[in-house]
């Protein structure tokens, strides 16, 4: 399997980015939703948010690396489909990136609103930068929540579209991102 993308295949780097981030992103949504309901005496009351913040920062780093890799690279041509579907798919991918970026930034703005840094797994810490907006943590929190729900809506659509390509159109869209190449019996 090649490192870089080609006109017909994703290289292993792009495949690795996709499959490292996808489960983490869905897990982050679940964790974020679950931890808000924890009682004060729950052992996860502190651990849940600590993990959520640490993974969030790491995901942001991965996202930036992924975008740089994408720009320094070609992307496989989409499978034959009506033009509007190809355009919608491309738009959805960019909205996914945009939402991920915005969710990361708003999450960061919640925890750093008072100037505190974010500790990433006792490994390194990210200092506060933007702070001092009135009720910054509340506004950032509200935006963070609704963007996360929007992201999940789009993730469902993205997954359904992949299955549609695989089972209905019987093309190589899903196989490409799994890194197993084109169908030879199609």
């Amino acid at each position: 399997m090649q490192t870089r993308n080609s006109d017909t295949h994703y290289g292993w780097v792009a495949v690795a980015f996709h499959w490292m981030m996808a489960p983490a992103i869905i897990g982050m949504f679940a964790l974020g939703w679950w931890m808000r309901g924890l009682s004060y005496y729950d052992p996860w009351y502190r651990q849940g948010p600590d993990i959520h913040k640490s993974v969030g920062i790491l995901l942001l780093v991965l996202l930036v690396a992924r975008l740089l890799w994408r720009w320094a690279n070609t992307s496989p041509k989409p499978e034959p489909a009506p033009r509007w579907q190809q355009q919608a798919a491309a738009a959805a991918h960019w909205v996914l990136y945009g939402l991920l970026l915005a969710i990361s930034v708003t999450g960061y703005l919640i925890s750093t609103a008072d100037g505190r840094a974010i500790e990433v797994f006792n490994w390194f810490s990210v200092p506060a930068s933007l702070q001092g907006f009135e009720n910054q943590e509340d506004i950032a929190g509200l935006v963070h929540k609704w963007l996360a729900w929007s992201l999940m809506g789009l993730v469902v659509l993205h997954g359904l579209a992949a299955f549609k390509h695989h089972f209905i159109n019987r093309d190589a869209t899903l196989r490409k991102i799994l890194g197993i190449g084109a169908r030879n019996n199609a």
């Binding site: 009682s39 004060y40 005496y41 948010p49 919640i110 925890s111 750093t112 609103a113 008072d114 505190r116 009720n135 910054q136 943590e137 509340d138 929190g141």
Partner: protein
């Protein structure tokens, strides 16, 4: 004649001043504080405050029992020096400030106990619930300020159970009751 008019005016002014005077909280100069404290796990005191509020009071040294107070607090201005905690305290688990952005206190009685001490009773509206509370008040001092005004200041403390105001997030058995520490300096209107 002109002199007489001035004298009369001055007497009238003096007479009104000696009567129940109205005071505005000095929020502009931040000589008033609405603070709270609650035990953390039963191991220490956590302090917080509301940064935005306003109020006024009527106070007459000669007739203190006629005193009254009104305070309006912007609950979104809660500040406990920790953004994540403030967000939690403003949220639905506690003050639900999106739904209840203000808390108010309106006095219904003032009972002097001598020696500058008194008990102030009134209705506190917090989290959409109105309940009578009583505040132990101590007069700190009053008199002319160096800039031509007249000021009067008090400190007050009270406590109530969060549950009484419909806030039932469980912070543990030692953290059911919150204490309020209220310090005001009023400028005579």
């Amino acid at each position: 004649m002109k002199k007489l008019a001035v004298l009369l005016f001055a007497t009238l002014l003096g007479a009104t001043a000696a009567q129940a005077a109205e005071y505005q909280f000095d929020t502009k100069g931040a000589h008033a504080f609405v603070q709270f404290r609650i035990k953390h796990l039963g191991y220490s005191w956590l302090y917080g405050r509301f940064d935005k509020f306003d109020g006024n009071f009527v106070y007459d040294e000669a007739k203190p029992e006629a005193s009254s107070v009104e305070v309006t607090v912007d609950t979104t201005s809660l500040n406990s020096n920790h953004a994540e905690r403030d967000k939690h305290l403003r949220g639905k688990d506690f003050l639900n400030v999106a739904k209840f952005p203000t808390a108010t206190f309106k006095s219904t009685g003032f009972e002097p106990k001598g020696d500058g001490k008194a008990v102030l009773t009134g209705d506190l509206t917090l989290h959409g619930v109105t309940k009578p509370i009583s505040i132990d008040v101590t007069e700190i001092g009053g008199g002319k300020d160096p800039w031509g005004g007249y000021r009067q200041g008090f400190t007050g403390t009270t406590e109530f159970k969060l549950k009484d105001f419909g806030i039932d997030y469980d912070l543990g058995p030692a953290s059911q009751t919150v204490e309020m520490i209220l310090d005001v300096e009023g400028i005579r209107k």
